[in-house]
Amino acid sequence: MTDWLTFAIPKGRPYHDTVQLLRRAGAAGPELETESRSLLIDCPEQRIRFLIARDSDVPTYVEYGAADLGIVGKNVLMEGEPKVYELLDLGYSTCQFVLAAPAGSDPARLLDGSAARRVATKYPRMTEAYFRSRGVQVEIIYLHGSIEVAPKVGLADMIVDITETGRTLRENNLVVIERLWTSSMRLIANRASYRLKADRIQPLVRRLRELTASGGQGEAATQPACAGADQRNQ
């Protein structure tokens, strides 16, 4: 299997769009579409082994060379800062990082530094970097999920989270104070594989580039699929 590629892709909501894109790029066979609980799927024709992983684990597999390539949300890359190469913006699963607070609160007061504010988030590193760059001191509360509940129960004054449609925020009576960053799915590569397997990786990058540049993912992106966003009630 020396000339095979290992490709880590995230399970969950972006899976469907990812598979559609890879199929159109000729990078994946029908094996990837079959209902399976297997986390390793081989596509012999393409000589690619797919590793189906948690989105936050995808960069880890790629960084350490267990996978040559990966597809993962920019939000995960920004929080983890893994040592991988980011090759392409695949353009789907777009979502916004927002700073949000309960409706009716005064944004200026929340950020004026007059009192120590608490910010709940799943993205502590980026959140800290953001507030440090603004020169605002806050206490960061790290949560694994259900961030939007934190202000309701008095755990935090604000939250930093990702949202696609804003529905979850509205349902929890939160309003966006500031849009921080946009995230979408990215193609990443292991630093050694990028060189050592260039003859296999480069054609794949070119095909994916053509598809994403022409908006080829459009039809697949009809259903919201931002990893981790707007799915709190699941």
């Binding site: 790629v62 980011e86 913006d89 060189r195 050592l196």
Partner: protein, 430 residues
Amino acid sequence: MNLSGTRGQLPEGVRDLLPREAARMRYISGRLADLFRSWGYREVITPGFEYLETVTAGAGQLGRPEDLYQFFDRKGRTLALRADMTTPIARIAATRLAGEPLPLRLSYHGPVFRRRDEKAGIASEIWQAGVELIGAAGVSADAEAVALACAALSATGLQGFKVGLGHVDFVEGIFEAAGVGGEQEAALKASLVTRDLVAFERGAREAAPSPEQADLLVAMATFQGDYQAALEEFGQVQNPRVQRALQQLGTMLALLKEFGVADQVSLDLGLARSLEYYTGVVFEGYAPGVGAPVLGGGRYDGLLADFGGDLPAVGFALEMDRLLAALERQGRLTTNLDREDVIVACPPGQEAQAMAVAREARSRGLSVAVDLLGRTGAELEAYARARGARWIFFPDGTEQALPDPPMADPAEGFRDTVRRPPEGAVTSIH
């Protein structure tokens, strides 16, 4: 045993090398030392800490000053653990070895120290081996450094590696040709160093005055191919630095063919290693299965000036931990290097004979350990097997051969440390 607090634990970022790993490190560094010697490089050993001003000379490579381990001497002067090997060697070359005939060829092996983020397993004490070639400018010196880098990776037994070759002038010249400077240039270079090609392309489209100039930047960042492809892609770029760099790289690749390493080298024109530090050719070595480069180097003609000697220099460092990890993955280190050939039985009352037997066996080049705990029978045999020994020698001159331990890859690796059976009869007493 109850070890309270941190006693018995290690701080983050450092680790012990137990006998098996230490033997491997010693073995690999020995192969490298022999190779460097055979290319005329002489080893130097520099202090673990120096004055802060010395350690921070050429600070471009070292990254953030807060990554240094700093402390004070009795007079209150600030000291720092060395954060790379090149800086102390530049100091030596510009001062204590200033009278020696040029070029200076120096090699080293030892740890450097950089504070790292808390990510588990990221080392703060980093073992490196490498060389510096000082006092020779020009393509021949560059080619020697790259060829020796390839030879060094080969000497360790590493398979399937590639050394990517780039040039600072090429990157700088492309930025000039693309009409991008100032803050935008700095931001783009930061993306180039981490190969965030998405941010790079986005930034290039924003910063470049024309779409063609943005395309030029992107072509540089994503280029992969041979020299002919590079000439086709960039041969028409109207910039003297770009053309000079291309010409140098072409001459170098021709020389590397003569060194017999052309197949191990590829052009990586977007390679950006700490651009404010390097001044010419830059290169990085990659091995399968290890995400980070196992080797990095380049030309740094400005560093020695920081120590009052203005000499051109080129060099590289191998990252020993990553190299060992790559070799381990390839099954290149299957044989125990920390074993004895012979255990000498030493029952009570026969110490004198046992020592004589051990001495005689050592004189034949075997590694020999005397069982100081006086074991006999099955207990003795179990101990000898645990130590990986091939034979038990007894004080009366008889020997017992032990079967070979199973090996993962008997054809490869480091069996050469296991000697032939000793001359003379191998008599089993059982």
